[in-house]
């Protein structure tokens, strides 16, 4: 199934929840959606018989300046089609629903996004830091992050 057909299906079901569809070479075609609807949209994407996106390839966080972006790359084993779902959340209240219970692989991906960008995935069972130490302060992949002078008595800068 092509990306614009997937967009039509989603648009029919969710209406205003789907914001934009863009297809422009060389980029992958993507659909941007409302953050609050992400769980329902992903549920449809996974379970609808014509979509069947059973494989979450990648979940990435992005820093877009004023807001934070989350990108889902999905793939279907059965229909061998791909789609990219994008959503943005404001930096002050970066909360959106977790998709961990749809694809278990999202568990660690979401923890990583929380660790590096500080997004809060509501409904995640165990949203704690994964890569950095548990007592680390700040979200290092944000563009305005300054690295600390000292950690546990060790100097950090060169």
């Amino acid at each position: 199934m092509l990306a614009n057909e997937i967009y039509e299906i989603l648009k029919k079901e969710f209406g205003d929840g789907i914001l934009e569809f863009k297809e422009e070479a060389p980029s992958d075609p993507y659909i941007s959606v409302e953050p609050s609807k992400i769980f329902d949209i992903c549920h449809t994407l996974r379970d609808s018989s014509e979509l069947m996106f059973d494989y979450l390839m990648c979940l990435s966080g992005l820093d877009l300046g004023e807001s934070l972006g989350i990108v889902y790359h999905l793939y279907s084993f059965k229909h061998t089609h791909k789609i990219v779902i994008k959503t943005t959340v404001p930096k002050e209240t970066p909360t959106l629903p977790s998709v961990m219970h749809l694809w278990r692989t999202a568990d660690w991906h979401e923890r990583e996004a929380f660790d590096l960008y500080g997004m809060i995935f509501s409904g995640h069972d165990n949203l704690i830091r994964i890569l950095l130490p548990y007592d680390w302060e700040g979200y290092p992949m944000r563009k305005d992050y300054n690295e600390p002078e000292e950690y546990h008595g060790m100097r950090v800068p060169y």
Partner: protein, 179 residues
């Protein structure tokens, strides 16, 4: 090589040589060093190659140990992150004197390629423990690691044993310089 040179030219009558006990002990110590292998990153793979058939690290008399209490020296092979640094310090402190450190690879020497933007990388293991031998490279070839081992053996052979203060002073001086 104080002792071995004397072996070539023993006193007549056979079987008797004169030498310092220190030399004898150092000779023995330098030929059987047990190490605590601290495989951290890419260098650990080269270290595995060093242990395998082509390079055969064990011919230096080294035996890998997994407990710091049985080890003479520790090999830091790879990038030391801040999360890991505390553990390395604990393990180093558990080793009994005399103890040595070989730092293998640019990362543990000075941060390597991660020196500038690595917010979570410790820029040099010598910020937390004193280092005896540095082996540069990213990753160093197995031959370079062997040379590091030869350097350490030389260091052990030339060490003053019975004047323990020397060693301690030496360490203090090193600490003062590096941190």
């Amino acid at each position: 090589m104080g002792l071995l040179n004397r072996l070539d030219d023993p006193f007549e009558g056979g079987g008797i040589i004169l030498g310092k006990v220190e030399d004898l002990l150092n000779w023995g110590r330098s030929k059987s060093d047990w190490y605590l292998h601290f495989g951290l990153a890419c260098c650990a793979i080269e270290f595995m190659a060093l242990n395998a058939s082509h390079f055969d690290f064990m011919r230096f008399g080294t035996i890998p140990r997994t407990s710091p209490r049985q080890a003479d020296f520790i090999m830091i092979t790879g990038t030391v992150t801040l999360k890991m640094a505390d553990r390395i310090k604990i393990l180093y402190e558990q080793m009994s004197e005399p103890k040595y450190v070989i730092s293998i690879g640019s990362c543990s020497n000075c941060g390597g390629p991660y020196w500038e933007h690595g917010y979570h990388v410790l820029k040099g293991i010598d910020r937390i423990i004193p280092v005896d031998v540095y082996v540069p490279g990213c990753p160093p070839r197995p031959e370079a690691m062997e040379e590091g081992m030869i350097k350490l053996q030389k260091l052990i052979r030339e060490q003053a044993l019975f004047n323990g203060k020397d060693r301690i002073e030496e360490l203090e001086a090193k600490k003062a310089l590096k941190i």
